[in-house]
């Protein structure tokens, strides 16, 4: 069953057609990768999916409900979580607090409850903290809990961001270049990690440049070029697709 279905979606910026009539779907429990040369519209596609941009036309259906007109926080509340290509951690907050914010969608204490410090919010805070710590444990960064998030190394920041995205128990995770700026060993760790996340039952959609990582973990690969879909298939089939080789791999090698 398709968890996410994208139908004929388009987005134009002034004279630039960033995404043109793209359709695809993501199976529940799978890992799907979006690849394409620079400027192919991958990040725009992510921004459309997560509600940061409104599509000019087309529909995005998640869990059977249209979400393309919703704002980012509503989409996040429905269990579709994301990370950013350029890490966007919350400054002046510890790593743990960053992850705890990720739990926002699964908690409900509001202004009044917060100000009055109602007893039930204590339990909720406890639950948020424990869940955040267990995720950090899962990602191997629990020692960093009290460090200032923006003072961490690049790889550690990526991990915090991932923990934050997972903290809301999403059904689906959008990862925007999770291996960018990582060395080979870290990239390999990341690949394993993404597989483990999938094994938790979370569907993953990832934009990535690193071909080895994509081929290693994805169940399906979507290829974009100049905003258009040119292939959507299993990794091996995509690798053999002459069109893809021409626009993407060919250029990449050259």
């Amino acid at each position: 069953m398709a968890l996410l279905e994208v139908k004929n979606i388009s987005k134009r910026f002034g004279g630039l057609q960033a995404v043109k009539d793209v359709s695809f779907s993501v199976r529940e429990g799978s890992i799907k990768a979006v690849i394409g040369p620079n400027g192919a519209g991958k990040t725009t596609l992510f921004n459309l999916l997560s509600g940061f941009l409104l599509p000019d036309s087309g529909a995005i259906v998640y869990k059977g409900r249209p979400i393309h007109a919703k704002s980012p926080h509503e989409i996040a509340q429905q269990g579709l979580s994301r990370t950013f290509q350029h890490i966007r951690l919350f400054a002046h907050m510890t790593a743990l607090e960053n992850v705890m914010v990720g739990r926002h969608v699964r908690s409900r204490a509001g202004f009044l409850a917060g100000m009055l410090n109602l007893p039930w919010t204590w339990r909720e805070e406890q639950e948020i903290r424990e869940r955040a710590l267990s995720l950090m444990e899962f990602l191997g960064i629990v020692d960093l809990a009290d460090a200032n998030a923006t003072s961490l190394s690049y790889g550690q920041q990526r991990a915090v961001e991932l923990a934050r995205a997972l903290a809301g128990d999403p059904a689906m995770l959008l990862l925007d270049e999770p291996a960018a700026g990582l060395n080979m060993r870290e990239t390999a760790d990341t690949a394993r990690l993404i597989s483990r996340i999938r094994d938790l039952g979370i569907t993953v959609l990832i934009v990535e440049h690193d071909m080895s990582l994509v081929m290693q973990i994805s169940d399906e690969v979507l290829v974009l070029s100049y905003g258009e879909k040119i292939a959507d298939d299993a990794p091996r089939a995509v690798q053999g697709n002459p069109e893809v080789v021409r626009v993407y791999l060919g250029e990449d090698d050259a």
Binding site: F52, A76, G110, W122
Partner: protein, 360 residues
């Protein structure tokens, strides 16, 4: 963690009592007047601190909300409805206890709105205006937000200054006392000075407890995340628009409450309370208090307002606040007290964690 939050509150209460006893012992009970006025200004400033330091939204128009509170209460409680006694609406309100008959200073009798009812109206009005103005204004960022809030403040100022009912440039005087319980009232009467001092500081303490609770709750975390990276906060499911708006409204209500009580305490209000320079002062106090530190803001508010109200800065009052803004923003944008306190809190937290790690 939960108990540690109350130690500073107890310290605050202790300090409030201690200062009163010291002024009593030192024969300087008159200091309490300025300390009481400072308390009300502190109420605005800690609300602004929540907005600026935690939600990261600047407001250069907070004196406007103070003025809305103060002027609404002043107008309603000095309004004379005696001539309309027969009007059914007026009669009904009088019956409901909303209106109250009292004597003015020269023995004439007045029928005006009861201070409690006026207070409710004033706070509700600030609440509604903050809501109405907050929705569009908080969509703006950076210079645009600064300019829009400045514009709001300017509009309130020119309305106050241009309207006869608000006393134009003279403001409103002979505002009656605000009755509390047991015959005690908020007023400048020197026999009630000590009680007024305690009432004002009790109000600040309650507000501090509420705000401290808030910032260490889920909402506080969400606010700081908005400050840190607004789009990422949205992607984590934080309804940034609603949280910013609620914070704006909360701080506006605090400013209006301060306006109501200070107006009754002073027995009047003038347009200087709505001026842009006042709003800038509040921003200066938040800045010097450390932007994100309620305690720093509280301490600096008391110190600066107290000194200013006692005239220590003489004719350089505005210059002092201008200088503070520049020096703090140039050399210590995180504030002076804020950084110190945070480091201290950090140390305590680390210490506790080490202990708990050991016990595990």
């Amino acid at each position: 963690m939960r108990t540690s939050r109350f130690i500073p509150i107890l310290a605050l209460l202790g300090a409030v009592v201690l200062v009163q006893l010291l002024t009593l012992a030192g024969g300087k009970a008159f200091f309490l007047t300025q300390l009481t006025m400072s308390a009300y200004y502190t109420l605005i400033v800690i609300g602004l601190c929540l907005l600026m330091g935690f939600a990261g939204q600047i407001s250069l128009g907070h004196a406007g909300f103070f003025a809305i509170g103060g002027y609404t209460s002043a107008v309603l409680t000095t309004l004379d409805l005696a001539a309309y006694k027969e009007n059914p609406l007026v009669a009904m309100l009088a019956k409901a206890g909303v209106l109250t008959a009292r004597q003015d200073l020269y023995g004439g009798s007045l029928l005006s709105v009861h201070p409690w009812a006026a207070c409710v109206v004033a706070v509700l009005l600030a609440f509604v205006i903050a809501w109405a103005i907050g929705i569009p204004v908080l969509k703006l960022k950076g210079h645009y937000l600064a300019m829009a809030t400045l514009g709001f403040g300017t509009i309130i100022y020119s309305i106050v200054l241009g309207t006869q009912r608000f006393g134009a440039a003279d403001g409103i005087s002979s505002v009656p006392p605000f009755p509390l319980l047991f015959g005690v009232s908020v007023s400048g009467d020197s026999s009630l000075r000590v009680l007024n001092y305690y009432f004002a500081w009790l109000l600040v303490t309650v507000a501090m407890v509420l705000l401290l609770n808030l910032i260490s709750s889920r909402v506080g975390r969400a606010l700081r995340s908005i400050h840190g990276a607004e789009d990422a906060a949205g992607a984590m499911g934080v309804d940034t628009a609603r949280f910013k708006l609620s914070t704006f409204m909360l701080s506006a209500v605090l400013a209006a409450v301060a306006g109501v009580f200070l107006t009754h305490y002073n027995g009047g209000i003038g347009p200087s309370e709505a001026s842009i320079m006042k709003s800038v002062r509040y921003v200066a106090i938040v800045a010097v208090g450390g932007m994100g530190s309620l305690w720093g803001t509280l301490i600096m508010s008391v110190v600066l307002n107290f000194l200013s109200l006692r005239g220590y800065f003489g004719s350089f009052d505005d210059a002092v606040f201008g200088g503070i803004l520049i020096v703090i923003m140039l050399f210590a944008p995180d504030g002076i007290i804020g950084a110190d306190l945070r480091r201290l809190v950090g140390k305590i937290a680390n210490y506790k964690q080490q202990n708990s790690n050991k016990s595990q």
